[in-house]
């Protein structure tokens, strides 16, 4: 009698557990579908031909798959993004490399070759991570004009390097804080100077932090719009975000071209994310300070 009752409750409990698990997966899958919905729209629309622009069929798959929109958004006469993709590359590669190196040196000193007040200096730098860049934008554009800084991409690269100092320093400082103090002390015992210690002890084990920081900088510089729209006045030097906004902001641009353009402009960062997602995640965590 009691065993039967027990059996029944345990069966009920198991059933409840199964149904709660089904519910859990359903919720997770639903969230995944919602997150991917914009990707579906982008892909489907970008492969439609000019003749399929009828909005009532917008959610449907293309009747015939066409690359016209991609071709137009890539290097079409009117909407081609190619020159702006080149601008973005010319901006992103040097800016990322330089700011990563600066971050590494700063992070090393502020965690493992400290001087009195190093924490205060770190705090002083860190504030720059959170400021709204609007608060420096007017004088920044002004200062570039005043000192006759080379126009366009060099200005933008300079801005990204300077305002990248806080985040790159933060990521490296947290990373270097995890290397054992003994390693550094051993080098000091050997009377190795600062640069020598950095070069022969610290740098060889820095690869993960370099990858994390470079991905972070690459993504945020590639995706930046605010600095670019304020600093770059010559349309020939626009990075791809500004060009994309200009293309898609106009109502006459066919929507299949808009979608293809948005995809093309996002591909570099998406590829980095897909290939190096693990490191991308670590950068995000560093961005959250102690999170």
């Amino acid at each position: 009698m009691t065993t039967v009752a027990l059996d029944r409750t345990s069966r009920r409990r198991r059933r409840r557990r199964v149904s709660s698990r089904v519910l859990k997966y359903a919720a997770l899958a639903f969230a995944a579908v919602v997150v991917l919905l914009p990707v579906y729209v982008l892909l489907v629309a970008s492969f439609k031909g000019a003749g399929e622009a009828d909005p009532s069929r917008a959610w449907a798959l293309p009747e015939s798959w066409s690359l016209d929109a991609w071709r137009e958004a890539w290097n079409g006469e009117q909407y081609g993004l190619l020159p702006f993709l080149k601008n973005s590359l010319k901006l992103v590669i040097p800016a990322t490399l330089i700011s990563t190196v600066i971050g590494s040196l700063n992070g090393f000193v502020l965690s493992r070759w400290r001087f009195p007040g190093a924490d205060l200096v770190f705090l002083f730098l860190l504030f720059g991570l959170f400021i709204p860049y609007q608060a420096v934008m007017i004088p920044l554009t002004q200062i570039f004009i005043d000192v006759d800084f080379p126009e366009g991409i060099p200005r933008l690269a300079f801005a990204h390097i300077v305002y990248g100092i806080p985040i790159t320093t933060l990521i490296f400082r947290s990373y270097y804080a995890t290397i054992p103090e003994d390693l550094i002390e051993a080098a000091r015992m050997d009377r190795a100077g600062m640069l020598r210690t950095y070069w022969s002890v610290v740098l060889p084990i820095s690869a993960p932090a370099f990858v994390v920081t470079a991905i972070w900088q690459f993504t945020s510089i590639w995706n930046d719009f605010l600095f670019a729209v304020f600093i770059v006045t010559d349309p020939g030097q626009w990075p791809v975000t500004v060009a994309l906004n200009n293309t898609t902001g106009s109502l006459v641009t066919p929507y299949n071209v808009q979608m293809a353009a948005a995809l093309i402009a996002s591909l570099p960062t998406l590829i980095v994310y897909i290939l190096l997602g693990r490191y991308f995640m670590r950068g995000l965590m560093a961005g959250a300070l102690k999170g």
Partner: protein
């Protein structure tokens, strides 16, 4: 002397960064404040002292008391500058956007982390999907979301409205970001889409940071799984929640790209950061643009400075 030889090179190596940040962060902020207090309100640069830009950004009542306190004799007859109506609209948008975005992203992110916490098949895949919007620019995301949230009526409907019709959920049709009252909340949807995954990742790390022994001990005491969460796990997550709130709040205050990508320069979607851009680029009203930028900075500093100090202090304690 030996000490200086020990730490001198380090300071020297960091000093270019200190200098750059001193000039380009702190110095330019100061310069910006100076511009905001100037009469540079047209294309040509002028540098006379003038507080009219700020007066236009505060409800006129505040402006009057300000004059009264400073004892200006002409306070009574001064033609009080009326508050800029666009700015009032911006503030409403910013408030609504912030509330919707911060709460939405926080709740979605925490819930997803909660669901993933206890081991799920395909966790890596789910995580990768939820987090991928972080790699996409707001400009590119805005292109799709503008289409998804297109409010065009009747047969010209696209995006969600069309989808709702097809699914027989026509009553859900709405004006999205062009809605008179709730438009700014609709603009928060793509922002939630972009950042919920990030919040999920933060919380998931927080959940995983709770020592398993603690959970086990509570279970041994006969606590139900829910009570384990309530009394053991959740209290551990307070620092995560604080970080998440700070991150979301500061993104929200300065939101710019997304709004430009979706709404352009329309007043109905305008936020303070967008207005600042319009003032500089179209109206050439530098003092007022700088004043808005200063207010954005003040808003964010109120959020960030205590947090930074708290973080560095607790780091030192460890």
């Amino acid at each position: 002397m030996r000490k200086i030889r020990r730490w001198g090179p380090g300071l020297l190596l960091v000093s270019p960064s200190i200098l750059l940040v001193a000039v380009f962060v702190y110095g330019l902020i100061g310069w910006n404040i100076k511009v905001s207090l100037s009469d540079w309100r047209q294309a040509e640069e002028t540098s006379g002292f003038d507080t009219s830009a700020y007066k236009e950004l505060f409800p006129s009542g505040v402006g009057e008391t300000g004059e009264y306190v400073s004892g200006v004799a002409t306070g009574e007859q001064s033609d009080t500058l009326s508050t800029d109506p666009a700015w009032i609209i911006d503030l409403h948008h910013a408030l609504l956007f912030t509330v919707a975005f911060v709460l939405g992203a926080l709740i979605i992110g925490a819930s997803l982390a909660f669901l993933l916490d206890k081991g799920v098949k395909g966790e890596g895949m789910f995580r990768a999907i939820y987090l991928f919007p972080m790699a996409v620019s707001f400009i590119a995301a805005g292109v799709v979301w503008r289409w998804l949230m297109n409010p065009a009526p009747g047969d010209r409907a696209t995006g969600f409205n069309l989808l709702f019709d097809k699914l027989g959920l026509g009553f859900l049709r709405n004006d999205w970001y062009l809605g008179q009252d709730w438009g700014a909340a609709a603009l928060a949807l793509p922002a939630m889409w972009a950042l919920s995954g990030y919040i999920m990742a933060l919380y998931l790390a927080g959940f995983r940071g709770v020592p398993e022994e603690l959970r086990e001990a509570a279970r041994m005491d006969g606590a139900s799984e829910w009570r384990v969460y309530r009394h053991v796990v959740f209290p551990h997550l307070r620092p995560v929640t604080l970080s998440a709130l700070i991150i979301l709040g500061h993104i929200s205050i300065k939101v710019f790209d997304l709004i430009v990508a979706i709404g352009g320069k329309q007043l109905i979607t305008q936020t303070p950061a967008v207005y600042m851009w319009i003032l500089i680029y179209d109206a050439r009203d530098y003092a007022k643009g700088a004043a808005i930028a200063t207010l954005l900075l003040v808003g964010i500093s109120v959020l960030i400075v205590p947090y930074l100090i708290y973080t560095v202090r607790s780091e030192r304690r460890v």
